[in-house]
């Protein structure tokens, strides 16, 4: 397929300036320049992108419009129709979500004596965890220490991190890697067993562990295999649509929806762990996303309705280099390593406009400025804009064959669509990558609602306002394990009282009192990518997301 004529014309200019650019180094921005660029162009600073939420524990706080839409949406189910005197499942610990955090939580809860049920929206392992390529951080080398790791984490998070959570993260990190080693995760090692570790954005020591460029997949498939071996029951295609509270306002179960048969099932559980991941599929401010199909903020909605507070929801991580062409894979991640190996960012005229290894937020803002205010972006046939990532430079600098050797997954991705990134530059634009904030937890994953725990990307505070690469794969393992252990203990000591959906009724009343119309329902469960022409033909059904 390769590129259309219009884009090839710009590629010619890129090729012409390459020789000059090989010598050229764009200076790093001063703190003032950075500030100006971020305020002018980073989506987080766009006042039109957010608004205060009108109901619930965070009433008055600014959050992205797309999230507020969901927090201000009505329940999917009619609470009065559920008879909660009997249950389809009765367990000690219910784990919601089959990603890395959910699998780790289920394993540890079972190890600590609990009778566990895991429910998940798609298949076990259909999750952001499966997609992580880069790596996982842990301070396990002699010249490094958890204390240095701590400093990197809070500096990266702009000092908004919750100290207890960061301590848990960095102190448990080596334990997590060791646990993986015992489970048989194939980390990259030297022949003597020493872990091969490299830098990631914002690390002061080389502590990024990897399993080739399939790190998340390798961890996820191993944890999944172990969940299966230990015969932990799990239900797929069964998202939770509402939590249950007992007469003492403790969390004691959930309602799930079978996406195949459309039935609802009632689960009673002494403790519940939310591990539902992030919100990339909300396409905040219209951005494409790197996230998996089910990243729709369901956990935030569920927890918010039972009274949990959310933290830093206005801090969104955009990865500067998402795919902008070809259309088929728009939004997918182009790993930081491509820039690390020498590919520069250049505009339509073939000129550099930002140092390629500034922090993620700064590079993203620079690309957005180039494509908007300066109007020097490259337009694709579908009207999307982007800038070039001049990948052929990698081979000029490091020798032919480097790309296929060092970036096989990346090369395959473009090659599938007829683009040889070793010969031609690739087009890129920022993409929605990570939910920095989330549900407030303590260092054991406990929320303010007794019996309710949260782990992984759904939680907030670990990473402050900005997560560093390699710390979220770590986060899901550290807090998944901790929540699993604590929930098992909690389940031993506590009984569930009389369960109800009264909180859901109250929430609906609050919405009504705030003058909010019944236009949407939540949780969203799955995004809907059908065309308006198709949706119009569905008149006659409710047309409110997945029916």
């Amino acid at each position: 397929m390769s590129y259309p004529e219009s884009m090839l014309a710009s590629i010619k200019k890129v090729e012409e300036t390459r020789k000059k650019r090989l010598e050229e180094r764009i200076p790093l921005l001063s703190p003032e320049e950075k500030d100006k660029l971020l305020h002018g162009f980073h989506p987080d600073y766009n006042p039109k992108g957010k608004r205060p939420v009108r109901v619930g524990p965070n009433q008055g706080d600014q959050m992205p419009n797309e999230l507020v839409d969901l927090l201000e949406a009505y329940p999917r189910i009619d609470p009065d129709r559920f008879d909660l005197s009997s249950f389809d499942y009765d367990v000690d610990v219910l784990v919601i979500g089959g990603g890395g955090a959910g699998a780790a939580a289920a394993l540890l809860a079972q190890e600590n004596g609990a009778n566990v049920l895991l429910v998940t929206k798609l298949r076990l392992g259909d999750a952001n965890t499966m997609m992580a390529q880069g790596g996982i951080q842990a301070a396990d080398k002699p010249h490094d220490s958890p204390v240095i790791h701590y400093l990197d984490v809070v500096g990266g998070g702009h000092y908004y991190n919750v100290p207890e959570l960061v301590r848990a993260l960095v102190m448990d990190a080596p334990k997590v890697i060791r646990w993986h080693e015992e489970l048989g995760v194939m980390y990259d090692k030297e022949p003597d067993g020493t872990m091969i570790t490299i830098h990631g954005g914002g690390t002061s020591k080389k502590r990024m562990h990897a399993a080739r460029d399939y790190t998340g997949a390798e961890i996820m498939r191993t944890l999944r295999d172990e969940v299966r071996n230990r015969k932990i029951p799990y239900l797929e295609f069964s998202p939770v649509v509402e939590l249950l509270l007992d007469d003492q306002k403790r969390c004691g179960g959930a309602i799930i929806y079978n996406l195949d048969t459309k039935e609802y099932f009632k689960i009673r559980a002494k403790a519940v762990i939310i591990a539902t991941g992030g919100f990339g599929r909300l396409h905040i401010q219209g951005f494409p996303t790197t996230n998996h199909y089910g990243a729709t903020a369901d956990g935030l909605v569920l927890a918010y309705r039972v009274g949990c507070k959310l933290l830093y929801m206005d801090a969104v991580q955009y990865h500067p280099t998402g795919v902008a062409y070809p259309e088929q894979i728009v939004g997918l991640l182009i790993t930081e390593k491509v820039r690390g190996l020498g590919a520069q960012l250049v505009n339509r005229e073939g000129n550099q406009f930002i140092y390629p290894l500034e922090t993620r937020d700064v590079v993203a803002s620079g690309i957005i400025r180039e494509c908007t205010e300066r109007n020097l972006g490259v337009e694709t046939p579908t009207g999307m804009k982007g800038v070039w990532l001049d990948s052929p430079m990698i081979e000029i600098i490091n020798g032919p064959g480097t790309i296929q050797r060092m970036l096989p997954a990346m090369y395959r991705q473009f090659h599938n669509f007829g683009i040889d990134m070793a010969k031609l530059p690739i087009l890129t634009y920022p993409t929605l990558h990570y939910q920095n904030g989330g549900i407030v937890i303590n260092e054991w994953g406990e929320t303010t609602v007794p019996g309710l725990f949260v782990a992984g990307e759904a939680s907030g505070g670990v990473h402050g306002r900005n997560r560093l690469m390699g710390n979220s794969l770590l986060d899901v393992n550290v807090f998944g394990r901790r929540a699993g252990m604590r929930a098992a203990e909690y389940a031993k000591k506590n009984k569930v009282g009389k369960l109800s959906l009264d909180h859901v009724k109250r929430y609906s009343e609050e919405l009504k009192a705030a003058g909010i119309e019944r236009k949407r329902v939540a949780p969203m469960l799955l995004p809907d990518y059908r065309r308006p022409e198709v949706l119009r033909k569905l008149e006659g059904t409710y047309g409110l997301g997945i029916e």
Partner: protein, 223 residues
């Protein structure tokens, strides 16, 4: 916009020629529930089987990574019933006997190479099954590493082997038993358990933002 005709499980639709099979399904009016996970070639949820008109050959691909073709008729294969054994990884030995006792069917491989031809990740599947037959666990683990467990190889195997389940057993045996252990890792875990860093971390937690900023700026960056 250039359009092509494709048949989705027998119903013909006109869709833009540039779409992946996954996006073409959505364009045609499907809200996917099954057969869609990561949308990026990592999870193996979207195995698809198709033919093109006038060609007897059966083709396969990942729906999120394959572009539609005119005259393509297809079905998703979102689930494939494959044999998978449960085992206790702590009680196994990394040997030929282990693999053969858990998955004896690998010995039935007839060397037809269909699995290799069908693999969307370009893995030499037949060769890794040959490794299983020889008990070469290290090579099996290495060769199968990029497997996304899509199930396509198993769907076409005349010997009814679920290759990818054999592969993950081998990778876990390799990672746990054959790969040398990281000594620095065990040492660090021990130090943490002995409380070596407790005081320093506590002190860090008490520091003001200004103090942290100074320490952060003064970090020594490993070259």
């Amino acid at each position: 916009m250039e359009m092509v005709k494709i048949s989705i499980m027998g119903q013909w639709h006109e869709v833009p020629a540039s779409l992946t099979i996954q996006k073409a399904l959505e364009y045609a009016g499907y809200q996917l529930v099954r057969g869609c996970g990561c949308r990026g070639g990592f999870c193996g949820a979207c195995a698809t089987v198709y033919r093109t008109e006038g060609d007897y050959r059966l083709k396969v691909g990942l729906a999120c990574q394959t572009i539609v073709e005119d005259g393509m008729y297809l079905t998703l294969l979102p689930f494939y019933p494959a044999q998978r054994a449960d085992y206790d990884i702590d009680k196994l030995e990394p040997t030929y006997e282990t693999i053969i006792s858990i998955y004896p069917e690998v010995l039935r491989c007839v060397g037809c190479n269909t699995c290799t031809k069908v693999c969307p990740q370009d893995i030499d599947v037949m060769e890794y099954i040959a490794c299983a037959k020889r008990g070469d666990i290290a090579k099996l683990a290495d060769l199968s590493f990029d497997c996304v467990m899509c199930g396509l190889c198993a769907s076409k195997c005349p010997a009814e082997i679920a290759q990818y389940n054999v592969a993950i057993l081998a990778r876990r045996l390799y990672g746990k038993y054959l790969a040398p252990k990281a000594k620095h890792l065990a040492d660090r875990v021990k130090e943490i358990e002995e409380g070596k860093f407790d005081r320093e971390i506590e002190a860090m937690m008490q520091k003001s933002e200004d103090e942290l900023k100074k320490l952060y700026a003064a970090r020594e960056i490993e070259p």
